[in-house]
Symmetry: C2
Subunit: 304 residues, 2 copies
């Protein structure tokens, strides 16, 4: 199966600590890289990850709090110094554009590529990116400022050809696509070979949902139902339920509740408050509700 992975570059919250960087992650699929959020220090973490800088063409910013976007100008500037020529697409709420433009005008006048800004509406669940095999949708979230998550869905793919059957029946290359699309094959002798003998089933499309920052949303499962992997913030443990309410964040139990209600494959929690020197308590509280939960961590690579 095509690799479909998430590289965690940073999973801390507003205050960076010695243990966690500000939010950023890279979704890798078929050699394409998509960045979600870009807190301060992201370019250093990207370098540490050894991912190919120039395979990154799309950056999605969930919301305009510094820990999710202060690394953007440094990354853009570094791409320029590295000789980038391909356009870089930035998806964020429209308020970012004038600030970014004035920084670009001043600091990045000489860069040899275009920064294309795509304003997004965080209140709607709509497709904002599409290519041959993938779509990215916004997921409306509820935080102190306009905020949305991002849902990466593989498009349904065609069944796999069984090479040995093609060879056995000497089926010409020109017919392969038809067979992938479901056609049977009729031999010269008039025998009909059913499609099911010529193919194995298509891969189940996988999906990855990123939900940060947000308070618990009881209806979130309507959008993220059945995703293969869900990243949901779990800033606090239940000891800080009050903070979660005050700052519109989630506890790890809230994250697990969403995972359970959405019947996802697995849950990754992140965006940890600086108060936890050890996130085991967050993990335990989540696993009581949704057992297949993991903690995010810098440089962790997760197979979707």
């Amino acid at each position: 199966m095509t690799p479909f992975r998430v590289h965690i570059l940073g999973c801390g919250s507003a205050l960076p600590t010695l243990r966690h960087y500000a939010s950023s992650q890279v979704v890798e699929r078929r050699g394409k890289l998509f960045m979600i959020d870009c807190g301060e220090g992201t370019q250093m973490q990207l370098r540490r990850s050894r991912l190919r800088f120039l395979s990154l063409n799309h950056i999605f910013i969930s919301h305009l709090h510094g820990d999710h976007c202060f690394g953007l100008i440094g990354l853009i500037s570094t791409f320029g110094l590295l000789g980038r020529t391909a356009p870089l697409h930035i998806y964020a709420t429209k308020e970012l554009q004038p600030m970014l433009d004035s920084q670009l005008d001043f600091f990045c006048r000489d860069i040899g590529y275009e920064v294309e800004f795509h304003p997004i509406d965080t209140t709607k669940n709509v497709v904002i990116y599409e290519d041959r095999s993938l779509t990215v949708e916004t997921i409306p979230l509820q935080h102190r400022v306009p905020c949305c998550g991002f849902l990466f869905r593989e498009k349904p793919s065609l069944p796999h050809i069984r090479r040995e059957m093609i060879d056995f029946y000497k089926i010409p290359v020109s017919q392969i696509n038809n067979i992938k699309k479901g056609q049977d094959w009729t031999t010269e002798e008039g025998e009909t070979i059913p499609n099911s003998r010529l193919t194995t089933p298509a891969d189940t499309p996988r999906s990855y949902a990123y939900c940060s920052d947000t308070k618990y949303i009881p209806t979130l499962h309507e959008i993220v139902k059945g995703v293969t992997t869900l990243y949901h913030e779990g800033t606090y443990a239940s000891d800080r339920q009050e903070n979660a309410g005050k700052y519109m964040h989630s506890t790890s139990a809230d994250a697990a509740r969403v995972a359970k209600e959405s019947e996802v494959g697995k849950l990754i929690i992140g965006h940890f408050s600086k108060r936890y020197d050890d996130e085991t308590v967050l993990l335990r509280e989540a696993q009581e509700i949704f057992p297949n939960t993991q903690l995010a961590d810098e440089m962790k690579v997760i197979d979707v």
Copy 2:
């Protein structure tokens, strides 16, 4: 003697590497912290240094290239989250102010302290900061954009009182200041005790000059003559003399030449190009000209 130290937070050049952060350092003197430059990641490095965030009230920005200022907004924002109330003074060329203001308006509306902006003229050698025992001067440098260094000078201090002599002659506390200022002491018996028996000489004022980024300036010694410690960029070794010219940077030999011409106490070189995996070559070339040279390094603490 009062501690007077420089904490190197970052000494890389435009492109951060896995070995070096972007430029930033903290000058520590008498419990006060002064930051010079603030590249991306500075707040993380400051945390790593374990210096007290709230003792930092002044930030000097040498020039507006990203690797010297992109960390500013994150640091200001973090200070706000940490509950800072004391004003923070920022010294930089005037072009920074509108950009910073628009970021502050958007991201830092809730911070509980003032950011006071002090525009500086990089073309003049003038005092821009002064307190009871220290001055900071600008040092005009020559780079691709307006740029200056910063020269920290201790003011001459008074001689030290010899406690045992004061006790011996039963000199009242009210006279101590006069004696520090040079007065002799006349005993009840009419004997005059010369000031030199009551005091030991004042400490020699120390000074620290930060010169980055700049091409070699043959007249720089006119300003930094005799400083105790000179930090001078040495981005390249002699193999990249051409790059130094093109980008208006110095080689480590240039830095050593300035140190020698200025008869400084010691030289620290930094702002290393990413092309060097090992800066020994830079050190060697500098030491051939000025033996008392050291390499900067992240988290290194240098006694001025």
